[in-house]
């Protein structure tokens, strides 16, 4: 059944209060660190102070002997996993690398790399025990910057890493894990036809997802080998699969329970603590709780890649782009796996280009292994491309939105990475931005306006959902996705719409791995799409059952029953004149008409619709200090169908804010020894409430017909445009073109001083 017509909807599109809301505003919701188990021990992790070193020896004997310590582990307590790629998390995962990331083996590869862990009867004793673990390191030269890591003579992180994607196959180990290319048309021909060519280099620094809740878990391994893992993660099935793999446990012997999660943004799509806690629990025979400190989160968990973006765009004077070339060099951190692939694929997706060539390099360096961060890879490459397009527009004297319109990707455009776009709304976002009052508002001195566009694929994938009709006519929806943005509300809304009952009669819960079928993790902007699809299908199956129960009660054929507004009706006069039966009427009789009324659906959702956005940003620059104030921000996005508009707006506003932080002040700062100097919220500068204005959102709805309600993913696109939007606004305000993120005051001030040397101080 299709619910694509918004006009007929009663629940979807409204803004009810989320089911878990009250618990969260009174402080009762249970996050990863909020629970205890009887007899539990506290676990703590010892981390390397060196950016690159060989582990010569670890002596844990003094720690083990400390009264109150019940277990100590190092890599010796974990299976030595062979090199193996698998697809169970967000993107490919090499289990050997994941294992070594959770607990270093032979070498430490970044300041903060876990080398040992203890479990003790109190936190104070666990801390003391960590100090008693003696690690002998042979410190090695380290390398952090991506181009330095690529250069000849750079310290090599992995002796067995040879660059993939180059011909002939290299024989010398390298920090370049792989090289990828995408080609469409003929760029040599394209550039030859160009009347103007803009070629620029941009750089970004690594940034962290900076979720407010540090990683936390509490686990218990029974003497029968049954494991329970309660943790804050973006996917309990991912937690289960990774722990099973890393510790050689049968998947059926692990039950992973999702805690409420205090933010993830991609950073919790893998494991750090759970396998370590399980190892400690197995040895000690008691539950183990581990909570990361904020410092550990910054030093030990995966940030977004920093990197280099080299853009070359050729165009006619009319503004039509005829050739585009891009080179991306992304840091992967200690192990291969930066999102350089998506970075390549998204960079030009907004444009209909005939001739494109994109090259990407995945480069390891001595920092934490990179993890996904909201549209991984795309914000970096879009910063470069959208800034370059802006420079092109200014050179040609063409309005930047008009330039985008001229070159816009639309239905039928073949992307540089292969697929052809269908049912997309990019042009609509450009039009909406152009016609918005914001775009026409006059600006004052030192104020400027910038625009930028963005794209993200969004994914579908495997989801399971169950809809159970309860004896009193309420419904319970069980699904398997940790709720990071209000998705439980959307699931309940879709089920309520299909069942025809009111939202407050439907309760959505997130089930653990034993309570619902396999579900791929919360990420890739997939939950409303894929799990929503599963919920809708399960609810439709329930409706069929309800109809056949009504038929049984009336003793007519199920084909003669209609379901409307939450009631069974005889379909037409011939079926008989019966009073309609409500869902509650049927539910109360379910035991006598055949048993429980319930359906579970497991799907591999296809047809995820990509998302496009166009943003407008106004800034004011303090010329003397380089301080940038965000005056006004409007985010326009094609959201498909906003199931719960408030939560869609929330995703847009949150992504914009992270992008603004990435643009202006967030970065990892390392000292000369490769140690992180700012592992805390004081000097890792996320935007605070006083840094921002209200963020206006405009939701353009071009429904995705592959989803019953027309939904497309919305969570990731909003982080893609802001960096370029801010950079373009600064250029508009004061003529300073910032190509290196973050655009912090000292850097902007230096560029402004170069343009306009400050008057010399009076003698």
């Amino acid at each position: 059944m299709s619910y694509l017509d918004k006009a007929g909807l009663k629940v979807v599109g409204t803004r009810p209060i989320r089911p878990d809301g009250v618990d969260k505003v009174i402080g009762r919701a249970s996050f990863g660190a909020d629970t205890t188990m009887p007899g539990m021990l506290w676990g703590k992790v010892k981390r390397s102070p060196h950016a690159h070193a060989r582990i010569v020896k670890i002596d844990t004997s003094k720690a083990a002997a400390l009264p109150g310590v019940r277990a100590v582990v190092t890599s010796a307590d974990f299976p030595n996993i062979a090199n193996e790629e698998a697809f169970v998390g967000e993107g490919p995962m090499n289990f050997r690398d994941l294992s070594r990331n959770c607990m270093a083996r032979d070498k430490v590869l970044y300041d903060g790399h876990a080398v040992a862990a203890v479990a003790a009867t109190s936190q104070a004793i666990a801390d003391e025990a960590l100090d008693l673990i003696e690690v002998e390191y042979q410190v090695l030269p380290h390398v952090i910057d991506v181009e330095a890591a690529m250069a000849d003579g750079a310290p090599i992180l992995h002796e067995d890493l040879f660059t993939q994607g180059v011909d002939p196959k290299p024989t010398k180990a390298s920090n370049v894990a792989k090289k990828i290319t995408f080609t469409k048309g003929d760029i040599a021909k394209g550039f030859a036809e160009a009347e103007i060519v803009i070629e620029r280099k941009y750089t970004t620094k690594p940034v962290h997802q900076a979720y407010l809740e540090p990683h936390a878990c509490i686990v218990a391994v029974g003497s029968d080998g049954q494991c329970t893992v309660f943790s804050s993660s973006q996917g309990q099935f991912m937690v289960r699969a990774y722990c099973a793999k890393l510790l050689n446990i049968d998947i059926a012997n692990i039950r992973a329970i999702p805690a409420e999660i205090g933010g993830g943004f991609g950073g919790k799509t893998l494991v750090y603590l759970e396998p370590v806690a399980l190892a400690l629990s197995k040895i000690s025979g008691r539950p183990v709780k581990i909570v990361m400190s904020r410092e550990d989160v910054f030093r030990g968990t995966g940030p977004a890649a920093g990197g280099v973006i080299e853009v070359k765009i050729g165009a006619k004077k009319s503004g039509r782009i005829v050739a585009a070339e891009l080179v991306l060099k992304y840091q992967a951190g200690a192990f291969p796996g930066s999102p350089v692939g998506p970075g390549c694929m998204c960079a030009f997706a907004m444009y209909d280009l005939d001739n494109v060539h994109i090259t990407g390099y995945d480069v390891v360096s001595n920092r934490p292994k990179v993890a996904a961060y909201r549209a991984p890879g795309a914000p970096n490459s879009s910063f470069g491309v959208e800034s370059c397009v802006d420079e092109l527009a200014r050179e040609l004297g063409i309005d930047p939105l008009a330039l985008r319109e001229m070159n816009a990707a639309r239905d039928g455009t073949k992307t540089p990475y292969g697929p052809t776009l269908v049912n997309v709304g990019y042009l609509q976002t450009v039009e909406a931005a152009k016609n918005h009052a914001h775009y026409k508002t006059p600006l004052g001195p030192n104020q400027g306006r910038g625009v930028a566009s963005g794209f993200w694929f969004n994914i579908g994938g495997e989801s399971s959902a169950a809809v159970h009709i309860n004896e009193d006519g309420t419904a319970t929806v069980v699904e398997g996705n940790p709720d990071i943005g209000g998705s439980r509300a959307s699931m309940a809304m879709m089920a309520a719409e299909v069942l025809g009952i009111s939202y407050d009669r439907v309760r959505a819960v997130v089930g653990d791995t034993a309570s619902i079928g396999f579900t791929f993790l919360t990420g890739g902007s997939r939950v409303t799409f894929a799990t929503g699809m599963a919920v809708t299908q399960a609810a439709e199956k329930v409706v069929e059952q309800l109809k056949s129960r009504a038929a049984a009660i009336w003793d007519i054929s199920p084909e003669a029953v209609e379901w409307k507004d939450g009631k069974a009706f005889p379909a037409g006069a011939n079926a008989g004149s019966f009073e309609p039966l409500s869902l509650a009427d049927i539910a109360v009789k379910s035991g006598r008409t055949g048993g429980p009324i319930s359906a579970e659906v497991s799907i591999n959702a296809q047809g995820a619709g990509p998302g496009f956005a166009t943003h407008i940003c106004d800034v004011e620059v303090d010329r003397e200090t380089g301080h940038v104030k965000i005056l006004r921000y409007t985010a326009v996005q094609d959201v498909g169908r906003a199931i719960h508009p408030s939560y869609v707006e929330g995703q847009m506003q949150g992504g914009v804010t992270q992008g603004i932080g990435w643009a202006l002040n967030e970065e990892y700062i390392y000292d000369k020894d490769g140690r992180l100097e700012n592992p805390g919220f004081l000097d890792y500068r996320c935007p605070v409430a006083s840094d921002l204005p209200m963020i206006e959102t405009v939701m353009v709805e071009v429904p995705n017909p592959r989803h019953p309600f027309g939904a497309r993913g919305v969570g990731e696109v909003p982080i893609v445009p802001p960096m370029a939007a801010v950079a373009n606004a600064i250029a508009d305000a004061v003529g300073a073109r910032m190509r290196d993120l973050p655009m912090s005051p000292p850097k902007l001030s230096a560029v402004l001083d170069e343009q306009n040397p400050p008057r010399l101080a009076a003698e």
């Binding site: 104070a124 801390d127 410092e295 003397e624 200090t625 301080h627 104030k629 202006l664 002040n665 700062i669 100097e677 700012n678 919220f681 004081l682 000097d683 500068r685 935007p687 605070v688 006083s690 840094d691 912090s744 005051p745 000292p746 001030s749 230096a750 001083d753 400050p758 008057r759 101080a761 009076a762 003698e763």
Partner: protein, 289 residues
Amino acid sequence: MPRVNYAAPSSVDEAVKVLAGASGLTKVLSGGTDLLVQLRSGRIKPDLIVDTKRIPGIIGIREEGGFFIIGAATPGAMLSSHEALEHAWPGIVEGADLIGSTQIQGRASLAGNLCNASPAADSVPAVIAARTIVVIAGPGGKREAAAESICTGPGRTSLAKGEFIVEFKIPKPKPRQCDAYLRFIPRTEMDIAVVGCGVNVTLDAGGTCTDARVVLGAIAPTTVIVDDAAKALIGHKLDEATLAALDAAAQKACKPITDKRGTIEYRTKIAGVLARRTATIAFERAAAR
């Protein structure tokens, strides 16, 4: 957090006895907003923490004999809500108000901010600019010292063993005297000052400066009283030439470092910018008296 001992004396004498008699590293606890961070990070490992907040009078503001007397452990929030103090020395209140967040201001004290001896302390420049005197209790009894004599280097004070600050004595402003404090930070809140500037000026009826103190923070190992900057103001009105001279003097006084919060060049430049802006506000306020 590493283990530690805790004492909460209920009088000045008791506190002096505990501090003087302690062996090992001892730290005074006022608001705790610096101390607990350092404890937690392992930067310091004291054996004993002495909480002064139960000492009568250590929290509170009173006016006496031409001074505002502020108890050493008075939280910033109390300073901001004291109308008379805010009217008299808005710069001091602004400085205290800028320390951290509203939550930090609920605890952070002038004594803690001063004795933590960070060159970037926000309350210190304006406190020094106002010629504040601190009252110190110790084994030798009570003594008074200029606020600027307390910090001797990053993290180091001139207080002897057994000594702690009990009060701040801020002289009431003269007619047509007022102050201001500005700092530069990358965001709008929550950052440690890249540069801080406190300016205290007295004007005559015609608007000419007759007295001034210009104090810069975060541009040297301790807060710096910039005599040349004061000289640039005294005898002048705040015109272009005066501002330029003030800017130059401020820049010349800088001996900053390059660290994760700012480079030498940037801090030096901003010192000049802030000196001009802070002086402008101070002059406006003084003239309005």
